[in-house]
């Protein structure tokens, strides 16, 4: 699944560790999601969407 997490993080000048702390996950989890090695669960996808004040579809793309 494609996602805009890395771009959104860069726009806010956040490190992976900063984003991980805000989401209450490990830095490795953020990296795995950004690189497409892990598709987040629905609860985590909602947390990500709320953090960036966007909808899930604006961040994740299954095409």
């Amino acid at each position: 699944m494609n996602n805009r997490l890395k771009v959104l993080r860069a726009e806010r000048d956040w490190s992976q560790a900063e984003l991980a702390g805000r989401l209450d996950v490990s830095r490795q989890a953020v990296n795995a999601i950004e690189t497409g090695k892990h598709d987040p669960s629905l609860p985590l996808a909602f947390r990500i969407a709320r953090l960036f004040n966007m909808s899930i579809e604006e961040i994740f793309d299954d095409q």
Binding site: A20, V25, S26, Q28
Partner: protein
């Protein structure tokens, strides 16, 4: 997941989360070592007849309860990626156990090997699961 203080920066929260996790693991390791030593001593005394079997059963019940509590707490603290890594490692370890035991058992039946050694197979299973876990961790870095 852990308690997440929104007043802190993300990096500070991540650091606090990591420290709490390491403390949890260290405590589990210390208690595990102490419980292992205590059970070894108790088992020897029960075998000698110096202590009744009920003492060991009580200790065993306590250790199982501790193991369940720490396992539950561990899975509550880790995130979903780590949970999946643990599940994959456990599955691979279980498959390793099944393959090792069945193979050894059949080779024993035709007289090629001594009877299956449960301790050897158990240790092999733990080693396989640990390697599988760390291979997944390295791939995600």
């Amino acid at each position: 997941m852990t308690d997440n203080d929104p007043a802190q920066s993300g990096e500070a929260r991540l650091k606090a989360r990591y420290k709490a996790f390491i403390r949890h693991l260290a405590l589990a390791a210390l208690i595990g070592i102490a419980a292992g030593a205590l059970s070894g001593v108790t088992l020897a005394r029960v075998e000698d007849g110096a202590l009744p079997k009920s003492v060991f059963i009580g200790l065993w019940s306590f250790m199982v309860a501790l193991f369940v509590w720490f396992t539950r707490d561990y899975f509550r603290r880790i995130d979903e990626v780590d949970l999946i890594d643990n599940l994959w490692a456990s599955t691979i370890g279980l498959y390793g156990y099944i393959a090792a035991f069945c193979s050894w058992f059949m080779f024993h039946r035709i007289g090629l090997t001594p009877p299956p050694g449960q301790l050897t197979i158990l240790l092999t299973t733990v080693i396989i699961a640990t390697i599988a876990y760390f291979v997944r961790k390295v791939r995600q870095r």
